[in-house]
């Protein structure tokens, strides 16, 4: 059991600090923290399908983009308030995941990864094609946003929801089933696990959250267009943050997203063009040298519970 002094107290202090941060700090810190929350939620979502089951999603940004378009349309065309509109982003994202996941996750092997590799381009092409609804290449402009603090709490709550969901999954029979698929799918099947169904459930959960994040992002950014909400680099960033922190763990994506966001802000923002090349090199390095991420390295030196 997590001890009060070691776990609950520091977590509580951290949460309280984050909750009151907007009252004491500048707009810059708030907007930076929104970014961190966003990446925690995105990296954490990727972790639920890829970190837990081992099925790599190369197109997770598609769910983010679909969520962004959903909420932008609900706000501008249907006059919804941004909060329910953002939350509604999860619906179409999960639906898209069902359409792709059902055929591809029934099969073992690389089918899913390749299908996800193509998904982003396809969704972007469709969004650009249906100009009447989506504004085509010029995108959708939303009403300017007058306060970022509500978005701060919404994004923070989403990040927290992803972390709590991951914790609950990892500590459930469902989570054990997913991990057994990652370790040995055929053995898992032999033990009576309906692997196709489990993978599909994990994928739906993993796609729903980026839909919500995208939904809030649309409101926060005030303007969305196909190139802006479907960039490959978003998927790359999610993957590297999750791997760097430790895939398949609860806190790995949180650590990875926080550290890499800070590094991105301090160092790489100045080397815009080298940035992606560094991410590529980082993925190679992490996969070969520390496949279990920072948490995996920490595990060698400290006694950590299985479920962090």
């Amino acid at each position: 059991m997590p001890s009060l002094a070691k776990v609950v107290l520091p977590t509580g202090i951290l949460m309280a600090a984050l909750a009151v941060l907007p009252m004491f700090s500048s707009g810059y810190h708030v907007s930076f923290t929104i970014q961190v929350f966003m990446w925690i939620a995105l990296a954490g979502s990727w972790n639920i399908i890829s970190g837990l089951t081992g099925y790599v999603s190369f197109g997770h940004v598609a769910f983010f983009g679909v969520g962004a378009y959903t909420s932008a349309l609900l706000i501008t065309k249907a006059g919804w308030h941004w909060l329910p509109a953002g939350l509604a982003g999860c619906g179409p994202a999960a639906l898209l995941a069902l359409l792709i996941g059902y055929p591809c996750l029934r099969l073992k092997g690389p089918y899913f990864a390749i299908a996800m590799l193509g998904l982003n381009e396809v969704v972007r092409a469709l969004v650009s094609y249906f100009e009447g609804l989506t504004g085509g290449g010029s995108g959708i402009s939303l009403p300017p946003i007058n306060a970022t603090v509500p978005v701060y709490y919404a994004m923070g709550a989403t990040a927290l929801a992803v972390v709590v969901t991951t914790y609950l999954i990892i500590n459930s029979r469902f989570g054990l089933r997913l991990i057994s698929i990652r370790e040995d799918e055929i053995a898992a099947e032999t033990m009576g696990i309906d692997t196709a169904r489990m993978k599909l459930y994990a994928f739906l959960i993993s796609a729903a959250f980026p839909g919500i994040v995208g939904g809030f992002y649309a409101w926060y950014a005030s303007h969305i267009e196909p190139m802006g909400v479907f960039p490959l680099i978003t998927t790359i960033t999610m993957i590297i943050m999750c791997l760097f922190g430790g895939a398949g763990t609860v806190l790995g994506p949180v650590i990875g997203a926080t550290l890499l966001s800070i590094m991105q802000e301090l160092v790489w923002a100045r080397f815009l063009f080298v940035h992606q090349a560094i991410f590529g090199a980082l993925i190679i390095g992490v996969v070969l040298l520390m496949p279990r991420g920072i948490l995996g390295v920490a595990r060698q030196y400290f006694r950590l519970p299985r479920t962090v």
């Binding site: 890829s50 081992g54 099925y55 790599v56 190369f58 359409l99 792709i100 059902y102 055929p103 591809c104 029934r106 099969l107 092997g109 690389p110 089918y111 990864a113 390749i114 299908a115 590799l117 193509g118 998904l119 381009e121 396809v122 092409a125 469709l126 650009s128 094609y129 990652r182 490959l232 790359i236 993957i239 791997l243 063009f273 080298v274 992606q276 090349a277 991410f279 590529g280 090199a281 980082l282 993925i283 190679i284 996969v287 070969l288 496949p291």
Partner: protein
């Protein structure tokens, strides 16, 4: 809406077949590597991009005939591929699929961005041999038909190599059963090296041929991993002749969908095709071994 005539349909079918020969060539490389190492090389399209740049620079700087430059892009990419195998990929050959997918994904991002840093992301073109042959109202682009013929020839050479030479037989044996191949005295590590080099070389040859048809830029390779995979699925996994017809089929389907829909939706059509195929006939349209 433009009225679509029979000639137009025939025209896109012919151009589609010509591009399809190229798809088949590129897909052969991906499927060879997957067969031997069970690694889907996400960097395959990046190798194609490098091949295209080899041709572009030899053409732009030395004025070398782009079709002749295949003789250079093939060995260059073989070395690049073998080096990458030796440095990185060999470490994940027996690892879970996640590792090899992510590793080759990282390699593709790194190489594509290094290419962008070195050569900028400008679109470049190899303007060589423009114009078409006209056969009964149908224009057959000259560069495309030569590229098709060369793609066919290279595919045929690769087949002969795989079936007639000792190394080729060892490659096929390893892809059929790695353990048994090893027991029979085949050095599978060496076969991995050669196969990965060969896969990259085929992508490089494809890149040289692509460069005379389409623009050359650092991200041009991205779509080819997906297309090659679709070609393999169309033909049935592990079925090399099937993959050849799969390539032609994909070229024709793309041509027809750009005629009947719009060019914008071509990729959507091939994507829907892949998903539908995985849903209904995962063993491949042309009935491969499963």
């Amino acid at each position: 809406m433009v009225h679509i005539t029979g000639t137009m349909v025939l025209q896109v079918v012919v151009s589609g077949l010509l591009v399809g020969g190229l798809y088949a060539l590129v897909a052969l490389g991906l499927s060879l590597v997957f067969g031997v190492m069970r690694v889907i090389n996400i960097a395959h399209g990046t190798f194609l991009m490098l091949g295209a740049y080899v041709t572009y620079w030899l053409f732009a700087l030395a004025g070398l005939n782009p079709f002749l430059s295949i003789l250079i892009s093939v060995p260059v990419l073989f070395v690049v591929g073998a080096l990458i195998q030796r440095l990185f990929v060999f470490r994940v050959v027996n690892a879970p699929e996640l590792s090899s997918l992510l590793l080759t994904f990282g390699i593709s991002i790194l190489l594509a961005n290094l290419a962008m840093l070195a050569w900028t992301s400008d679109y470049r073109s190899v303007e060589f041999l423009t114009g078409s042959f006209i056969v009964k109202n149908i224009a057959i682009s000259k560069p495309r038909s030569i590229a098709f013929a060369l793609a066919l020839a290279i595919t045929a050479i690769a087949f002969l190599f795989l079936h007639r030479t000792k190394i080729g037989k060892a490659i096929r044996a390893t892809s059929q059963n790695r353990e048994v191949a090893e027991v029979c005295g085949i050095n599978v590590r060496r076969i991995d090296l050669i196969t990965f080099g060969l896969g990259a070389a085929l992508a490089g040859a494809g890149g040289s041929l692509v460069s005379v048809m389409f623009a050359v830029y650092p991200e041009m390779g991205q779509v080819y991993v997906f297309k090659s995979f679709l070609v393999i699925v169309l033909g049935g996994a592990g079925n090399y002749p099937g993959a050849f017809f799969g390539g032609l089929l994909l070229g024709v389907i793309e041509g027809l969908s750009s005629l009947f829909l719009t060019a914008q939706l071509t990729e959507v059509v091939s994507y829907v095709l892949l998903v539908a195929l995985l849903l209904l006939r995962p063993q491949g349209l042309l009935g491969g071994r499963t």
